[in-house]
Structure formats: C-alpha cells, structure tokens
C-alpha cells in the first residue's frame, strides 16, 4: 500500500495465536493461529477497510493492535513506537509511555447493547475515561466536554444523565462513539460498528463517522463483513483469509481490479439490489467453509476452496507481493476478473 506520509499505524509481520489446552491433562495440545504474519500501513487521516469471512482473524488482529491480545511476534508501530516491546510492564517510564499512546487508540464495538454499562449514565460512561486517564481533561471541564461530545455525535446534551436503556440502538452506538472520542484518539478501530443497526440508522452512523474523520483527522481501521459498507467508507482495503492478508490495495484497485480468487469470490457474492440493471457478472459460489485455523492447509491457505488450485499451491506458500496490476496479492496465479466487476463510479 502506498502511503503519502509516514504511517500512523504500521503493523509488521504480526503473529497472534491462542493455545488449546486439553481439558483433562491441562496440557497444551495445539494452537489456533488466528493471525499469521500480517503487515500493513495506515496513514493518518485515512481509513483501512479489513474484510474477510468469520474466522479469518479480523477481530483478533484488531484486538492485538489495541493491546487486548499479546502477539507471539511482530511489531505494532504507532507513530513509530513499537507497542509490543513497550507492553508487559506495569510501572515505570515504559508503562507510562504505553498508557499515553494507548489512549490515542480507541475502539467502537458491534453491539451497542452489550458494550455500555447499564448502571451508569451516559455522562458517567463518557467521563469514566478521564477518571482512568487523568490529565486529558481537567475535572472542572467534564460537564462541558460531555455536552460537546454528545452534540458532536448528534445526541441531545440534555440527555446526558439518562441511562443506556433509554436510548434506541442507533443512539446507543452514538454514545459508544462519543466514549471512544473522549480521550481524543488519533486511531479508532471500528469492529463491525454498524453491522447490528437497521439500514436507515446504519447510514446515519456511517455519515457521522465520515464527518468526524474530516473534522478531527481520525484514522479508522474499519472491520466489517459488509463489502458495500467497506467500499463506501474506506480509502484502502485489506482482504484477510485464515490469518493472512491475501490482497491489499486502494478501494478502487480492490473493487474494480481484484486479482486474488478469494477477493473475486467475495465480491461476486455480494447481493445486488437491482440485479436487472447491474452489468452482467459471473457469480463465483465458493464451496464449503473456511478451514480450521488449528491446522491450516499447507502452501496457500485458500487452495482447498479455490477453483484454480494447482500442485504448486499445496507445496509453496504465495507471499503478498506485487504480481499483477498495481497492488499486492498473494496468489501464484493472479488474474484480472473475467468480466468487468461493478465499476467504482467517482470517489468520495
């Protein structure tokens, strides 16, 4: 991915795995390789869309970036400093530096019902972050700051002393966004942040995210399974399959000229609202499901579902590199789509 400036977030060869313990002997019997060697850059003020099926490792990747999971190896560079080597200490200069960086990375979760404490008022939910991170907003400014944040996300500041259950789903997601903004982050990770919302409300929240980015210069790591939503909001897109990135590029490159068979299959599976008016397209229906990340296939991980697989795909792993077109892909046999993919008309 080309970056106009120094990337805000740079992930290098990240590996995150979870041990599998046998229930009986409490011994480690295997490992789930959720993220296996992922690298990408996210420039400041931009949005990187991360797509892939469930089980592809998107959420684990996000949780590792924000520090909720500890990687086995690799680097998470935020503003040039590696969060992985800084973490693991509770006291001292490194721990303080880590806290200062960490608060610049915030997350918006999928479920606006489960991610807000039902016993706290909206005001308490938002100002809790300032209690934990003293020095960001002085206490005498809290009331005014909560009001500002609520107004910014399109909620009535007069409702700050209400509880989450008094709000609709879309309003609750706005509260989650206000909470994420409270510490003045530079990077916001949106993990399926609009997936649970009704279509009409989803569009409102997407517009809000776009506006906030323009006003505050935020960067988004935007995880979603809905490719139309990802295309709408992202500048760059990374396609993930079974713990690895298989194709990365600008939104136009990925959506108009995908060369990896998995990307092509994903795009062709997206339902079109007006099939009669859409350009003719070849629908690729993948058979089967994503394999288990405990014992991924040898060579190319996608080969077990790929219609183009050759013996070479089982023996040699394709690395993510420039192969065809202007962007990197991880396939031994990259090809431009046979029929024109739905074209990206105009850019946002």
């Amino acid at each position: 991915m080309s970056s106009p400036a120094e990337p805000l977030l740079s992930v290098r060869d990240l590996h995150t795995s979870f041990p599998i313990h046998s229930a009986l002997l409490r011994r480690k019997v295997g490992e789930v390789h959720a993220v296996s060697g992922v690298s990408f850059d996210l420039p400041a003020g931009r949005t990187l869309g991360l797509v892939g099926e469930s089980g592809s490792g998107k959420t684990t990747l996000a949780r590792t970036v924000i520090g909720l999971e500890r990687p086995r190896s690799g680097q998470v560079l935020f503003d040039g400093r590696d969060l992985v080597t800084l973490s693991g200490r509770r006291r001292g200069a490194k721990a303080a530096e880590l806290r200062r960086i960490r608060r610049q990375i915030q997350m918006i979760f999928q479920d606006p019902y489960a991610s807000l404490n039902p016993r706290l008022t909206v005001r308490q939910i938002i100002s809790e972050a300032w209690m934990i991170n003293p020095g960001v907003v002085p206490r005498h400014r809290w009331t005014a700051e909560v009001n500002d944040l609520l107004a910014r996300v399109g909620l009535n500041p007069d409702h700050a002393d209400r509880y989450p259950h008094q709000f609709s789903g879309g309003q609750r997601q706005r509260i989650g966004i206000a909470r994420a903004l409270a510490l003045r982050p530079r990077l916001v990770i949106c993990d399926e942040a609009v997936s649970a919302l009704d279509v009409s409300v989803q569009a409102q929240v997407l517009n809000l995210l776009v506006d906030l980015q323009a006003d505050l210069g935020l960067s988004y790591l935007f995880i979603a399974h809905d490719l139309s939503v990802v295309r709408h909001i992202s500048n760059q897109v990374a396609v993930m399959y079974l713990g690895k990135l298989v194709e990365t590029g600008t939104t136009d490159q990925i959506f108009t000229a995908p060369v990896h068979p998995y990307t092509q299959a994903l795009l062709s599976a997206v339902p079109v609202t007006r099939p009669w008016a859409a350009p003719p397209r070849q629908q690729i229906i993948l058979t089967g499901d994503i394999p288990s990340p405990v014992s991924p296939p040898s060579g190319c991980r996608f080969r077990t579902r790929c219609w183009k697989a050759q013996p070479r795909c089982a023996s040699e792993e394709p690395v993510l590199a420039h192969r065809l077109g202007d962007h990197p892909s991880a396939c031994h046999f990259p090809e431009l789509p046979a029929q024109p993919q739905p074209a990206a008309v105009g850019a946002r």
Partner: protein
C-alpha cells in the same frame, strides 16, 4: 390471482406488555400463489416476523394474540382450525426456517435423527428408511459427505451447514409453502450466496411457494417475485419486486434505497432516513412514518393513508402514502 395458495386478510396481532398493548401487525393483507415468492421487508419492529409467526401459528402466547383477520390456506381458515389440525399442517404443508439454526436444533440429538424423526413420526417410516431419506435430503441441500455427517451433532456443523440442515428439515415432507425468516442474516456473504442459490433452485424444482423475510433489500432481489414493505406493523408498499424497487412510490422505501451503500453505485454521501424506527407504544397519529418523512403535510397527521394503486402499474403495485405520486415523480426524475 385466481386461487391463491395463501390469502392473509386484515391480519392483526397484538402483544400485551406491562406498559400497555401494542399492535405488532396492523390489518395486513396479502395473497401468495402456488410457486410464487414474496419478500417481506422492513426494519426492527416492522412486524414482518410476527406476520410469519401468525401464519405458522407460532405467535408467542399468552402475551401475543391474533386479534383480527383471516389466514386462508388452500381454502380454509387456519385461525379457526383446532390446534391438532394446525399441527398436522406444519411440516407437511407449511414449513419455516429461522435465522438462528443453532437454537432451533436439538444439541443432544444427531442431525440425521432430527431430520429422520419427521419421516418416522409423520410418515411411519422405519429407522433404516428414515436414515436413508435423511442422507438423501442432506445431500440435496449440499452437505458434503452426507452419509458420514448424518451421525454428527449440530455443534459439529458450521453456521452455513446448520442452516442447510434446517432447510433439509423444512423440506423433508415436501411442503407447499416455505417461510424463511432472515435465513442468511447470521451468515457470511459467501455462505449467504450459497443458501440463496439453494433456495432459488428448490423453488424452481418443487414449485414451492416461499415467503422470504429480510431487512436486506439486496439479498431477496434475485429470488423474490414480489416485495411487500412493512413499517410499524403496516404494509406501506407492495407489488412486483422490480416495480417496487424501480418506480418506488412510498417515501420509506425510497429512504431505504438511498440508505444502502451499493457495490456498483457511486461513493456519494448516503441519504439516511432521519430519526429511528418507531416505538410501537407511542405511534404518532395518522401515518406512522410521518415524523421521519420529508413529504409529510397536515393530512398525514390527521388521516392514516391506505394502500392505493400506483399509476405506473395500477393492477399490482400499491402504496400507502398521501403523497405517493410526488414520491414517484421524484424517483422517476432520479
């Protein structure tokens, strides 16, 4: 329609809650012909799922109750039949597939036994015969290595495969009407495409009538013949799917269309519908969509609109809006 397989007339379903009574389905009427597929579309609280539950006799009691209307299936009213008779119809004539297959399957019974049970109970099949039929059905719905997987438990299947098991069970006794309530909402887009292709195949193969319930206008577009949009328990627009999508005459339908980012559309700012889906406990007077509607005028507050013919296709396309012609003119003008 000469002889509709299913004719729902003025169906009203109410729920009693501690805070008061809500009308989840408000005088809904529609017909469905043999072999036809109807998409019922709408957001949270629109009444689309409750409509389906009413047809299947599954409205949760005692809170929920069908308080009015008729559901005529193949000439007889399902609402006045004794429960035993209704039970006989479920499975043999009518079948339903739910959104969440894991909570609809028995976790401690092998999948083959759950499918086979239908043949044992309803058709008096022997154990061996039921098993053979279960394998046959699993194979038909695209479960690989069906002969081996017939002895697996539900948790050993992926979400997509579980949904196939549910479809196999629904199809077992060859129903004439299949209702699928958000059948692909919990699934990945790749698996969603597989399931929708399977439903389209089955529809063609068996001339089965289908009701597809969804919040996603795109998912049903390739399969459904007709679309019916619901809002606050009422039908707001109905007609041939393509007519409804292309010559939209209700502001809610138009708003939904403008809210969807499309894979092949321009990447412009979305035009969301302002506000939130309605609170059924506090519906406004007149048209329930009025507080969110850019077309609303005084008449919308005083008179609830009724379904009326849309001039471009008066025989089949109807919308419940006082300003339908203005909406249509704007839609046609782009």
């Amino acid at each position: 329609m000469d002889h509709p397989l299913l004719s729902v007339q003025d169906l009203t379903v109410q729920f009693r809650t501690r805070a008061g009574t809500i009308t989840a389905v408000d005088r809904v009427s529609f017909d469905l012909a043999e072999g036809e597929t109807l998409a019922i579309l709408g957001e949270t609280g629109s009444g689309k799922s409750v409509t389906a539950q009413a047809v299947m006799g599954l409205v949760p009691r005692p809170a929920g109750q069908v308080t009015g209307g008729r559901i005529i299936y193949d000439g007889t009213d399902l609402l006045t039949r004794p429960p035993s008779e209704a039970r006989r119809l479920n499975g043999t004539e009518l079948a339903m597939v739910f959104q969440d297959p894991l909570s609809s399957l028995n976790p401690v019974l092998r999948v083959g036994a759950q499918i086979g049970e239908l043949f044992r109970r309803r058709r008096g099949a022997s154990r061996a015969e039921a098993r053979r039929k279960a394998i046959e059905l699993m194979d038909r719905v695209g479960i690989p290595a069906a002969a081996r997987r017939v002895d697996d438990y539900p948790h050993q299947f992926s979400g997509g495969m579980r949904q196939r098991v549910m479809i196999a069970m629904a199809l077992a006794l060859q129903p004439r009407l299949l209702i699928a309530d958000e059948p692909t909402t919990a699934l990945d887009v790749t698996v969603q495409a597989q399931i929708m292709a399977l439903l389209a195949d089955l529809k063609a193969e068996h001339r089965m009538a289908m009701i597809l319930i969804s919040h996603d206008l795109g998912v049903v577009a390739g399969v459904a013949d007709r679309a019916m949009l619901m809002y606050a328990g009422r039908v707001v627009e109905t007609g041939e799917l393509r007519e409804v999508y292309e010559t939209t005459a209700h502001p809610y339908t138009r708003g939904l269309m403008a809210s969807i980012p499309e894979l092949d559309g321009p990447r412009e700012r979305l035009q969301p519908i302002p506000g939130a889906p309605p609170d059924l406990m506090r519906l406004p007077s007149g048209c329930p969509f009025r507080p969110r509607c850019a077309y609303a005028t005084d008449i919308c507050a005083s008179q609830p609109p009724t379904l009326a013919a849309v001039p471009t296709r008066p025989d089949s396309h109807r919308a419940a809006c006082h300003h339908a012609e203005e909406v249509l003119a704007d839609v046609v003008a782009g």
